[in-house]
């Protein structure tokens, strides 16, 4: 089936004219029509637009044009503004919002010929690790436990993007990562996903959550597919003052590099007594694979690891409370009428934001308020400096780090909903790299005893995604992960 192809295979098939771009897009739209009522991976499906883009791609292919993503159908996280196509950020407050402009990342994908199938579901404003906070309903993970049909979460916040790719409704997807929102759902859905270095992809036109942490990246079913997509998404953008003015390397070529002679660090603080033995075993297996491929395994220390999450839950809500001040019912989005202007603001935001967003905006407002700024926010920024120093020191000894991506496999919808802190602990292994701005890739490495995928995380030096891809591709070859989710294109429900 066309939906079973990797993005690289689909690209090669189009070039050979084995099938047309219209056929490829129709196959994916059929999968979306069949599966989305159950999985809810898309908030908005742009079928007509996708068909027109595919037809244009066929015309371009007939003329001999060769662009990196020509005719390849993708899902776009609903956090990326798309010109003329509704962009909700998973929130009621943006439910009617139709941007009059295109984000830089999606504009880069369109420049390279991609087809957009629609906008992928996500936790509201990217705040969540389960996709349960979306105002447009939860997403079901295409994977289920063996002999148990209960709906599991796909992780979050990029849960719709990852579920769509895992179920073969799209060849790849855009995602964003603020504290783990690419890597954790990729791990839960048995696919690959990379958060590149902060500054690698432009944030212009991406609905802002925490501006010093937000970074766009791709998710796909292979490491090479992620490399191809990142090559198109990345690049300098004068419209984002934190965009890095650096050349974009050939990431796909880096996937073919050997890891022989590389030094791979094992951060000892990532071990814990609470870690499920299966995840610890998977981690050791990953290290053995890299050792077998000629890498040297080195113990390292990242002493402030345990403070990463608490630091994150000051810095990210603080930035969010500032970024989300723009949703006031005046310039865009929903408005709820009130007795006067202030009442209108307060009712608009109370009804427009869900519980988790309201909680984080309030935490952020509190830690930035007079009298508490130094105790909370300034202290967190200093601990953040120490977390970055940990990584800088480690990268003086090693070329990359290997850790588990998440402390568990996918859990059931509704679990961990009563205790915000229990939900936050999902990101314990992904948050430190976000705080430091370094790149991180999750690779599916195997299944747990219940038949659910587990991911390994490769972390690299700033702007050295190439080494991250080389290590990730080696793990992928060794793991030889060809397990399939129960719910996917072509399988009757």
């Amino acid at each position: 089936m066309l939906t079973d192809l990797s993005l690289a295979e689909a690209r090669d098939g189009l070039r050979r004219r084995d099938f047309s771009a219209v056929e490829l897009t129709e196959a994916h739209l059929d999968a979306v029509a069949a599966l989305n009522p159950r999985i809810n991976a898309f908030i908005t499906v742009s079928a007509d637009k996708a068909r027109a883009q595919a037809a244009a791609a066929d015309a371009a292919l007939a003329k001999g044009e060769d662009r990196p993503l020509l005719g390849l159908p993708l899902a776009i996280k609903d956090l990326f503004c798309t010109d003329g196509l509704r962009t909700t950020a998973g929130s009621r407050i943006l439910e009617p919002f139709v941007p009059p402009y295109e984000s830089t990342v999606t504009a880069n994908l369109l420049r390279d010929g991609a087809v957009f199938l629609g906008k992928a579901n996500m936790d509201e404003f990217a705040m969540g690790s389960s996709n349960m906070t979306s105002a447009f309903g939860p997403v079901q993970n295409p994977w289920t436990r063996r002999g148990d049909n209960r709906a599991l979460v796909p992780g979050g916040s990029s849960g719709g993007s990852c579920a769509a790719v895992a179920a073969r409704m799209a060849l790849g997807a855009t995602a964003t990562d603020t504290g783990g929102s690419i890597r954790q759902p990729a791990s839960f859905c048995g696919i690959a996903g990379i958060k590149p270095t902060y500054g690698r992809c432009s944030r212009w036109g991406i609905v802002a959550f925490a501006s010093s942490l937000d970074q766009a990246g791709p998710v796909a079913r292979t490491v090479e597919d992620c490399a191809i997509l990142l090559g198109s998404m990345a690049g300098f953008d004068p419209k984002d003052s934190t965009s890095a003015d650096r050349a974009v390397p050939d990431f796909a070529a880096a996937c073919r590099r050997s890891v022989r002679g590389l030094r791979i660090g094992v951060p000892r603080e990532y071990h814990s007594d609470n870690m499920p033995p299966e995840i610890e075993a998977m981690w050791q297996q990953g290290l053995a694979w890299l050792r077998d491929a000629g890498a040297e395994i080195v113990d390292v220390s990242l002493p402030h690891t345990k403070y990463g999450l608490a630091t994150y839950y000051i810095v990210a809500p603080a930035e969010a409370s500032s970024n989300l001040a723009r949703y006031d019912g005046v310039r865009f989005g929903r408005r709820v009428e009130g007795e006067d202007l202030t009442d209108m603001y307060e009712k608009t935001r109370a009804e427009g934001f869900g519980a988790e967003v309201r909680r984080r905006v309030m935490i952020g407002t509190y830690v930035l308020s007079a009298g508490y700024y130094d105790a909370y926010y300034l202290r967190a920024q200093k601990v953040r400096a120490l977390i970055l120093r940990d990584f800088t020191d480690a990268y003086a000894q090693v070329d990359a780090l290997l850790t588990p991506t998440a402390p568990s496999a996918a859990f059931a919808q509704g679990d961990k909903m009563d205790d915000p802190v229990a939900m936050y602990l999902n990101d314990v292994f992904t948050v430190p790299a976000s705080m430091a701005g370094v790149p991180g890739l999750s690779v599916p490495a195997g299944l747990d005893g219940q038949g659910l995928p587990l991911g390994l995380q490769v972390l690299g030096r700033p702007f050295d995604e190439e080494t991250v891809f080389a290590v990730g591709a080696e793990l992928e070859r060794a793991a030889d992960f060809h397990h399939l989710p129960a719910i996917r294109a072509g399988v009757p429900a």
């Binding site: 009617p96 919002f97 139709v98 009059p100 902060y198 500054g199 501006s211 010093s212 004068p238 934190t242 890095a244 003015d245 402030h304 345990k306 403070y307 608490a310 630091t311 839950y313 409370s321 006031d328 019912g329 005046v330 310039r331 865009f332 989005g333 408005r335 009130g338 006067d340 202007l341 202030t342 009442d343 209108m344 603001y345 307060e346 935001r349 109370a350 309201r358 909680r359 905006v361 309030m362 935490i363 407002t365 509190y366 308020s369 105790a375 909370y376 202290r379 920024q381 200093k382 601990v383 953040r384 400096a385 120490l386 970055l388 205790d419 915000p420 802190v421 976000s434 705080m435 701005g437």
Partner: protein, 95 residues
């Protein structure tokens, strides 16, 4: 530091989010749970450490102070919940 419902209502006011009395009670419990957990940062020795504001690790870039966009009021106002001519409209603030 522990938040009482009155403080929660004050923060809600600052955040411009309407919070009812029952909700303030419930939020106080949730926010205290999160803030209590965050207090672990007090164990970290941050003496002499400069705060890190961002992950970009580069100097902020400047650009020439010139107009690069504009003249598109219909696009700008296209998503407004209410408008009057080429202005956003809000409830009356002056009697």
């Amino acid at each position: 530091m522990s938040l009482d419902p009155a403080t929660v209502r004050r923060i809600a006011r600052l955040a411009r989010i309407h919070v009812g009395d029952t909700e303030a009670e419930q939020l106080a419990g949730e926010l205290n749970g999160i803030l209590g957990w965050i207090e672990q940062l007090n164990e970290v020795d941050v003496e002499g450490i400069d705060p890190l504001t961002g992950a970009a690790q580069m100097a902020m870039r400047l650009r020439p102070d010139t107009v690069t966009d504009g003249g598109i009021p219909e696009l700008v106002l296209g998503n407004a919940p209410d408008r009057a001519g080429t202005f956003y409209a809000v409830p009356k603030v002056v009697e």
